[in-house]
Symmetry: C2
């Protein structure tokens, strides 16, 4: 029996990513977002939405660049902190002890301690409502060597990203592998169910 | 030590959601997407990206509506199937045994067996590249009563959504809760680390 919950952004799962930017004073900043996701394969593109009032909003508009930093679950405190506190109020890198590294490809910093970092050039600004969606063209992905699989791709269980529930406001880890894509569906296709 | 992987859409985690539409013949269809995410709080909005060649692309343009259907992990086979096969080739509801229910709010069907369903009115069409991003205004969320928590919100561990790794092409379940948002970050804020 389905019940209606009304017009609310209650999707599951959402990511918890940290957007890295330089502000007008050249200070590196990180802001946690859950309204985000990949949006194109070629050019590879990723979208992050921010309230206009957020410090990172002006930074992205000014520098036309940002990074998407994927925290491991052991950084859940830092991830939450970067969503609670504004970069206007202080230096979030200093407060968390995280290390800001300048990207040599885009005008934005990334978080050295996080296992997966996506460097983006601002491609489009979409007005949606309370939030502005920034579409970034991915110019490079950096990963810690230790989180790569045998094919040189980031391994989910080594990256250990955070999964966020925006309704109950709880962070989760990633669980077990449950199937290979473009493969397990053939069991339906072949009528084996 | 970070290594550069190049310009690729290697973000983690991504969702595995099924977009529900009616095609030109009025046939219900479902298509699996990973390039997607919430993009605004007010109006509550969600974005899904599809290749122009996909059957669902024309359906959304024509009907100006779609649903986002969140599968439980026990539907991983059906989820993968709906990403492998085109709606042009056959009836994916019939093949999977899933039930199509017409939304009474938007001109699109939803999947009855899935625990969480988001009904959307098409708000914007954004050309990104190989993919078109459809921004839908969420007009209602439906959830199975059985997956709601004590506050009437969808419970992550009852919904059991699928987490997707687009690099290795593997589906995962959700793991354990690791922290309360807007709360655990105060341990950093208060210098308790």
């Amino acid at each position: 029996m389905k019940v209606s919950l009304g017009a609310k952004p209650l999707a599951l799962p959402t990511p918890a990513w940290l957007v890295g930017t330089y502000d007008a004073d050249g200070r590196p900043n990180i802001a946690t977002v859950a309204w985000c996701g990949v949006c194109c394969t070629e050019p590879p593109s990723i979208a992050v939405s921010l309230r206009k009032a957020r410090h990172s909003h002006g930074a992205i508009v000014a520098r036309k660049a940002f990074t998407v930093n994927v925290p491991s679950d052991r950084f859940v405190r830092e991830t939450d902190y970067a969503g609670i506190v504004s970069g206007r109020a202080g230096d979030k890198f200093a407060a968390t002890g995280l290390t800001s590294v300048p990207s040599d490809l885009v005008d934005a910093p990334f978080v050295d301690e996080f296992p997966l970092v996506i460097e983006c050039r601002l491609a489009q600004i979409i007005e949606v409502g309370t939030h502005i969606q920034f579409i970034g063209e991915i110019v490079n992905v950096r990963a810690d060597e230790a989180v790569l699989d045998a094919n040189g791709l980031p391994d989910m269980l080594k990256v250990r990203p955070i999964v966020y529930d925006p309704g109950a406001k709880v962070y989760y880890g990633v669980g077990d592998a449950i199937g290979k894509a473009f493969s397990i569906g053939n069991e339906v296709k072949n009528g084996q169910e």
